[in-house]
């Protein structure tokens, strides 16, 4: 049975069209995300590993090397078994730093463009023959099915179709995140097709050729030499070498790396792939031995590498042969498409861009897109060119293994990425260079010699290791041995540069946490755009900044240093996805420079540590977990503290802002943290900055206006000490940050005012009887004078009578005025104190007290010097004296004396002058055991209904608000003696009241 070229071509075209449709439908979301994002789709897409080498070549490999063919699939099984140690960390790096290829990964870790270039060249050299091999396999399958030599035209057509597919579904747009769901679904479909095709041929081999499994077993038993030939290479061949090579190829081959890491949508998918992909390989290979034995049984003259086609042709069923052909096309096309896309990305980032960076006046996105498309086309065409050159190819398996040895050269470097922090750029470059050199000499130069390009026949292995050396064992040992040895040796002898150390910190979980973050020279997103425009072009620069802002959910007015640092990091990552990590870092470093003279941002360090701990919360165990719980507990205490608290760095940057602070200030915590103190809205900025500059650690009853209403706060601050240094000449403050507490006293202040008012009312009540009596006497006098005046005609007497009435009226007026003055007290004035004579205030208090103490005939002596002026609130001080004198009256016996005296105390240079006032009586005195309680609210020794217990607490508060002190002399035995110490100051010098105008 043979086919016509056109029939096969049509079948291939229909199949590829179906592939187009599937990819298109997935791209346009016509296929549900449940399917496109399903882990199974991801697992199947990894089936790109099985190329035409696996589909056709495995049977030939099995015939020549028996069970050794399985090593190519057992290696990946081991690699995927080690997913948590091997693949997951790579995936993390790829996702976190938006890397798009193996070359990007090495360029990132070793911070070297040369590393990227070397890896790209190695991958190109190692993989291009492999692409040629796929074209060759499809051409060969055409030749077998048509029984005619395959014309080049068909191979070229195949290449063109793949090129269109790759351009449409893999290079349609430039995005920082290389995700192509259409492509992934199409490749998954291809994997399913080739598995189905191979399985169908395998089933036919067992049941169509042998009849059943038992017959096949009998046939095998009948010829023990055949089974022995199957097992013998496994004992004597390079089993371990091949497992190692396929182990590294499973995730390092460009197509594998691309599908496994770059196209990965969810980490969970990798978990499923850790067993799902090996299962796919197992199922794929289950059919190989029966197909091999069926081919041998049929004694077909077709090359064993194409037994899959030979057996299906023998079936006489055109559909089976066609399915096998489509399976082969699937295997080849998937490999070519993905490899080309992966190589084009590498070549773009590490060859094209470093060589010819586009002019900033051009549209960067367009340039990149067309650059990539050009590279895709170029790579496929080179593959086709090599296919033409490699007509005398050494075989599917050999070419495949050459690629495997090439990618295995990256294993030492990968150890430096994942496990060995000490590895250096120089060590990597020297080791990889040596490995590549060996690989070229062992494989590529002989291959070029074979096709007539290189004139000298080289046999390095025979020369170095002897003529009987197995080529795979010898080549792997020699190239990787040199590579690893030089990598380790040079790494140990060379030093890491600063940029390398930063990259190491990003790669390793246990690397030092705190990096040297500094403030940026650019201070706004607009400046970011302007700077980037100089190198990316105006439009691209603007779009990149806008894109990064949108991803970080920031707005165009962002000014916070740490947010700008985040913006810079995000832009670097996004550029890394488009231009590669080295170029992205160069652009960002040169255009978005950091200010070397600034200090590290403490808030960034704190956030860095907190983010890291937050992400790792469920994974911290043992003592570390307990310490973290303790940390959370302490942080929660600070957060839920009913006092408003915030902490500030040396640079006035806000490090923390607790919940109470958030509620009090109505400034969102997220917005406050990382801001500079001066950027806070008023009055908070001035209030906190003024207090921060004050030498005092505490300030009491600071009044400010918030939303037009007065608020009172107690402010406290404490320095959080930095780590001590040995630098004794250091002039900077010896602390790393300051914590500020704000105690809101507004309610307390209002309550105190209420209480004072109540006390005043109570006093007025007590005074009422005296007032009535005092006013009653002159009124009686006025009444009798007026009555006599009615009958008086003598002008002299009338005049005297009127003077008497006026005198009595003045007396009443004095009483009423005193009462009014006393009753007008309230909150302490916001504008400061006034200056007045102390003795007049005392006189007034005495007059008021006398009104209610008429029965005791007490004597009041005011010894205050008339010239002594004091700055205070007159009404409040009057209240102090009234309360103290009333208490003195209550305690005194009839006829007792109450004295008030005052003297000026000259203080030393550092302090203000004070007035020391004494109020003493000759009463019963205060028992020593009650002295500690007399200033407590509601504490009274008077009978119920006679005292509120608020008098002395009110006195205490008023004196405290004036910055003074009051105490009772415990040693005074003749009665009670109160001392009041008040500062003598001008209103402008007030420190107890720091007032802030509203709206300042």
């Amino acid at each position: 049975m043979t086919f016509d070229y056109n029939q096969l071509l049509l079948a291939a075209l229909i199949y590829l069209l179906l592939l187009f449709l599937i990819a298109y439908a997935a791209d346009r979301n016509y296929i549900s995300e449940k399917i496109t994002h399903h882990p199974l789709t991801y697992v199947l897409s990894l089936g790109v590993y099985t190329t035409s080498w696996s589909f056709y070549g495995s049977v030939g490999f099995a015939e020549q090397q028996g069970l050794l063919f399985l090593t190519i699939y057992l290696g990946p099984t081991l690699a995927f078994l080690l997913t948590p140690l091997l693949l997951a960390p790579i995936l993390r790096l790829i996702k976190d730093y938006q890397l798009t290829s193996l070359a990007d990964l090495f360029a990132f870790r070793y911070s070297s463009q040369l590393a990227g270039i070397l890896v790209t060249l190695l991958m190109l050299a190692g993989t291009l023959p492999y692409i040629a091999l796929q074209i060759s396999a499809v051409a060969e399958s055409l030749s077998i099915l048509t029984a005619k030599p395959a014309p080049l035209r068909q191979g070229f057509m195949f290449c063109l179709i793949l090129m269109v597919f790759a351009l449409l579904f893999g290079a349609r747009h430039i995005t920082p995140k290389e995700k192509h769901s259409g492509l992934v679904v199409a490749i998954a479909f291809e994997s399913l097709v080739k598995l189905t095709a191979l399985f169908a041929v395998g089933l036919f081999a067992v049941f169509g050729v042998f009849g059943d499994l038992q017959s096949m077993q009998d046939w095998l038993q009948a010829d023990p030499a055949r089974l022995e030939a199957f097992y013998q290479p496994a004992r004597e061949g390079p089993w371990l070498t091949l497992i190692f090579l396929s182990f590294s190829a499973a995730f390092l081959l460009p197509r594998q790396f691309h599908m496994l890491f770059v196209e990965n949508l969810h980490r969970r998918s990798l978990a499923v792939a850790s067993w799902g992909f090996p299962l796919y390989l197992l199922l794929f290979n289950l059919a190989i031995p029966p197909i091999l034995w069926a081919g041998q049984y049929l004694q077909t003259d077709i090359n064993s590498e194409f037994y899959v086609l030979a057996v299906s042709l023998h079936a006489g069923q055109p559909w089976l042969a066609l399915l096998a052909f489509i399976g082969g096309v699937s295997a080849a096309s998937a490999m070519v498409i993905i490899t080309t896309l992966a190589l084009s990305q590498m070549a773009l980032n590490h060859l094209l861009l470093p060589i010819s960076y586009p002019d900033p006046t051009l549209d960067m996105y367009r340039w990149l897109l067309w650059g990539r498309r050009m590279l895709v086309s170029f790579i496929i065409l080179i593959g086709f060119g090599l296919f033409v050159l490699l007509k005398q190819r050494p075989g599917l398996v050999e070419l495949g293994l050459i690629s495997f040895v090439a990618v295995a050269q990256c294993i030492p470097g990968l150890i430096g990425v994942l496990f060995w922090q000490r590895a250096t750029r120089t060590g990597f470059l020297v080791g990889l260079g040596a490995g590549i050199l060996g690989w070229l000499m062992i494989f590529i130069l002989p291959l070029l010699h074979q096709i007539g390009v290189f004139p000298i026949k080289l046999d390095v292995l025979a020369y170095l290791l002897g003529p009987d050396t197995n080529v795979w064992q010898g080549a792997t040992l020699l190239t990787l041995g040199c590579n690893s040895f030089l990598f380790a040796l040079v790494s140990l002898l060379s030093k890491q540069y600063d940029d390398e150390r930063r990259a190491v910190a990003a790669c390793f979980e246990n690397a030092p946490l705190l990096s040297e973050n500094r403030l940026l020279n650019v201070t706004s997103p607009r400046q970011f755009s302007a700077q980037l425009a100089k190198i990316l072009g105006e439009e691209t620069g603007r779009q990149e900044v806008a894109h990064a802002l949108s991803e970080l959910q920031l707005d165009d007015h962002e000014r916070r240093p740490h947010q700008l640092q985040r913006l810079r990091d995000r832009i670097e990552r996004n550029l890394s996805g488009m231009l590669g990590p080295t170029l992205a870092r160069m652009i960002v470093d040169s255009r978005l420079q950091v200010n070397a003279s600034t200090r590290s941002m403490l808030s960034d360090h704190i956030r860095f540590i907190e983010d890291r701990l937050e992400q790792s919360r469920s994974r911290l165990r043992g003592l570390v977990g307990e310490l973290d719980a303790l940390r959370r507990y302490h942080r929660q205490i600070l957060q839920d503290l009913p006092l408003a608290a915030c902490s500030l760095s040396k640079d006035d940057e806000i490090l923390s802002w607790n919940q109470a602070m958030e509620q009090l200030s109505r400034i969102d915590r997220q917005a406050a943290i990382g801001s500079q103190l001066c950027d806070l809205p008023e009055p908070w900025s001035t209030l906190l900055r003024t207090f921060l500059r004050e030498p005092k650690q505490h300030q009491h009853k600071v009044q400010t206006q918030i939303h037009g209403k007065p608020r009172w706060f107690n402010l406290h601050k404490a320095a959080i000490a930095d780590k001590p240094t040995n630098d004794h000449n250091r002039r900077e403050p010896f602390w790393a940050s300051v914590v500020i507490l704000l105690e809101d006293l507004t309610e307390l202040q209002l309550l105190e005012t209420e209480l004072a008012h109540s006390e005043r009312l109570a006093s007025i009540g007590r005074l009422a009887a005296g007032v009535a009596h005092e006013i009653g006497n002159p009124v009686t006098g006025i009444a009798s004078i007026t009555q006599n005046l009615k009958y008086e005609t003598e002008p002299q007497i009338i005049t005297e009578s009127l003077d008497d009435i006026l005198e009595q009226t003045r007396r009443i007026n004095d009483i009423v005025q005193s009462l009014l003055t006393f009753s007008h007290g309230g909150a302490l004035p916001a504008h400061g104190f006034t200056s007045f004579a102390l003795n007049r205030c005392v006189d007034e208090a005495i007059r008021l007290v006398r009104l209610s103490q008429t029965g005791k005939r007490l004597e009041f002596n005011n010894h205050c010097p008339p010239h002594l002026q004091i700055s205070a609130d007159r009404q409040h001080l009057l209240q102090v004296f009234v309360n103290l004198l009333t208490n003195a009256c209550d305690a005194s016996s009839p006829g007792g004396t109450i004295e008030v005296s005052a003297e000026l105390e000259n203080a030393d240079v550092a302090q203000t002058d004070h007035v020391l006032i004494q109020v003493r009586d000759q009463g019963s005195g205060i028992p020593v055991e009650l002295m500690d309680r007399i200033f407590e609210p509601f504490f009274t020794t008077k009978d119920p209904g006679k005292g509120t217990g608020l008098g002395l607490p009110l006195v205490y508060n008023i004196i405290r608000d004036h910055g003074g002190m009051i105490w009772v002399d415990a040693m005074y035995k003749q009665g009670t003696r109160f001392y009041i110490k008040l500062p003598v100051r001008q209103p402008s010098e007030s420190t107890a009241l720091m007032t802030l105008p509203a709206g300042q």
Partner: protein
């Protein structure tokens, strides 16, 4: 730079995985001996399936983040 994620894989987990991997390589002499006994051809597939089962059970030990 963003904080690297912490891994929950303890050194014991890593050791188990590495021992399994090493065993797969080190069992080669056993495999040589075993192949001399001419076992059924599909036996190696059964062993392979066993290894897969092990991989499946192991991955359940780790969180999504780690695997």
């Amino acid at each position: 730079m963003p904080p690297p994620l912490e891994s929950s894989i303890t050194w014991q987990d890593a050791a188990i995985l590495l021992v399994i991997a090493a065993l797969c390589f080190a069992l080669y002499p056993f495999f040589s001996w075993w192949s001399l006994q001419a076992p059924p051809w599909f036996m190696i597939y059964l062993l392979w399936a066993l290894l897969l089962l092990l991989g499946f059970l192991l991955q359940r030990r780790f969180s999504d983040h780690d695997v």
